[in-house]
């Protein structure tokens, strides 16, 4: 026991000064209040309008729509990834013709809306029915799902090619030179030295591209593919129940948020050797 403590008995700390009620606090409370009211309102309409008959009738079709959306997105992303390799190589090629062709491809698919491309394939290729029949491809383009898959693959290949090119070009020159100094053949250097580093840079844009595809895939509902959006539209046109859109919104939001979190975890895991 020191002399100070005997002379001055321990005291409680002074009370914290009350927080000033600022304007931003007011706006924050108002904004949160609006969100809360909206959330409660939507919840109440869902509870009030809850109809087990509707749920048992449209619930399974929503799930099948979700499956169609996921199948479309996953297969077009994978096929687009394969197709994007030659396009990216063409973009980086020193051959004028190849690089110009790849540039035109990428510019077209990135410069026009996905829905216009889809219409061009789905409605437009119908004009070439005799020719397509002659080469035996008409059965493929007759089906809306195939048209959607074809368009989405071409579209995402253009975006993925740009991601890949940017990532490969972001690898510093010294890495190429280092690999050459070690006497590695060019192919080995590309696959073992350049590509792994490029993929880390490309990881985040790839995640964004998948999210964009999930969101973009909603437009296939317009060309009569019954994905999640298509099932929602069908259910809405039969019931005129606004809840259907709320359910679809929740499903889309949870898909995107799930992917975002998984991707964040994946990125943290794959870049843990870069942390200092």
């Amino acid at each position: 026991m020191s002399i100070a403590e005997t002379m001055i008995p321990p005291q409680a700390p002074p009370p914290a000064p009350p927080k000033a009620y600022t304007l931003s606090r007011f706006f924050g409370s108002v904004a949160l209040g609006i969100w809360l009211a909206l959330g409660v309102g939507i919840f109440l309409t869902v509870v009030n309008g809850w109809d087990p008959e509707k749920f048992s009738r449209y619930g399974p079709s929503f799930l099948s729509g979700l499956g169609v959306t996921l199948a479309l997105v996953i297969s077009s992303i994978l096929m687009g990834a394969v197709l994007s390799l030659p396009v990216a190589l063409g973009r980086m090629s020193k051959n004028k013709i190849w690089s110009w062709l790849a540039y035109a491809y990428v510019y077209f698919f990135r410069g026009t809306p996905l829905i216009t491309q889809l219409f061009l394939v789905y409605y437009g290729l119908g004009s070439f029915r005799p020719q397509l029949d002659a080469i035996g491809l008409w059965w493929f383009f007759r089906d809306a799902w195939n048209c959607a898959l074809f368009t989405f693959t071409l579209n995402t290949a253009a975006y993925q090619a740009e991601i890949l090119r940017g990532a490969i070009q972001s690898v510093p020159r010294g890495q190429h030179e280092g690999a050459a100094a070690l006497g590695l053949p060019q192919r080995v250097a590309f696959f073992k030295v350049i590509l792994p580093q490029a993929m880390i840079v490309a990881l985040r844009p790839y995640g964004n591209e998948i999210i964009l595809m999930i969101k973009g895939s909603a437009i296939v509902a317009i060309v009569t593919v019954f994905d999640l959006m298509g099932e929602t539209r069908r259910a809405f046109s039969r019931t005129f129940d606004y809840q259907m859109y709320v359910w679809a919104a929740l499903l889309y939001l949870s898909m995107v948020e799930l992917l975002r979190n998984v991707w964040g975890w994946l990125e943290a895991r794959l870049t843990r050797h870069l942390k200092r």
Binding site: G28, G111, T116, A248, L253, E257
Partner: protein, 267 residues
């Protein structure tokens, strides 16, 4: 009241028809489309498509200021020290970045319709209500644009060092003046490439509004395709028109970027 406005609008329409790049006196369709499906007037679809071009461009241009202003305030909210404000801003971004644009459009279109109907029913008007597709598209696209825009502006805000605010304080400027004179000019310069990308996305998203009946490029070419059975040609023209819009915007944005970069040339 309506006289001067009517005169103003007819004057504007006259000027627009003069400089119309598709069907005006020096328009592409007027000179090269005569006698084909793209002729102007009643003979072809040139003037309908030109109108769609105008609608698409004006929808994108009308949405831009709305989205920029809302996005700016949401970015301010997300970097505020107040937790509730940050949370509210983050909820906004999460929702409107996660929803498909088409779904947002439907929610706004039908939701507005239901809201207006209910409101009018309480006032005593019972009747069919139709929401203007242009307004619904503007709101839906503006909301999506502002959600993305707030993220771009937020990262631009983070790139501006704290010392800039302190310098504003040291000069005796109040907060609004600091923002206007010191922060905003730098913010625009940093955010411009990101905003350019968002503008391109906005331009492409306007095609979705044709689904709820707005007579834009896609809708007009779609009608022409259905009537004439020349679907490939007309949707090809729609693609080309969107490409032209994209090219014009990339030229404008690179000029803008050059002019804003002049300020940092000395450093």
């Amino acid at each position: 009241m309506s006289g001067p406005f009517a005169a103003l609008f007819s004057g504007l329409a006259w000027i627009a028809s003069l400089i119309d790049p598709l069907c005006g006196p020096i328009g592409v369709f007027r000179w090269f489309g005569a006698g084909t499906l793209l002729a102007c007037g009643d003979a072809g679809w040139g003037d309908e498509i030109a109108y769609g071009f105008l609608v698409t461009a004006s929808l994108a241009i009308a949405t831009l200021p709305l989205g920029l202003v809302v996005g700016f305030f949401i970015a301010l909210a997300k970097q505020s020290e107040e937790r509730s404000l940050r949370l509210a801003g983050n909820i906004y971004t999460t929702i409107f970045r996660g929803l498909p644009e088409l779904l947002t459009l439907f929610i706004v279109y039908y939701g507005l319709q239901i809201l207006v109907q209910q409101f009018l029913a309480t006032v005593g008007y019972e009747g069919p209500v139709e929401i203007n597709a242009f307004v619904a598209g503007m709101i839906a696209l503006g909301v999506v644009f502002s959600a993305y825009c707030s993220e771009v502006l937020l990262s631009a805000f983070k790139a501006i060092p704290q010392g800039q605010y302190e310098a504003g304080d040291a000069l005796g400027l109040h907060r609004g003046a600091t923002m206007r004179l010191i922060i905003l000019p730098q913010l625009i310069r940093i955010a411009l490439p990101g905003l350019g990308n968002l503008w391109m996305a906005l331009l492409k998203d306007t095609a979705l509004v044709s689904v709820v009946g707005l007579p834009d490029i896609l809708r007009q070419t779609g009608v022409a395709a259905r009537v004439t059975k020349h679907a490939f040609e007309f949707f090809g023209i729609a693609c080309i028109l969107f490409l032209i819009l994209a090219m014009i915007s990339s030229v404008v944005f690179s000029a803008l970027e050059r002019s804003t970069r002049r300020a940092e040339a000395g450093r």
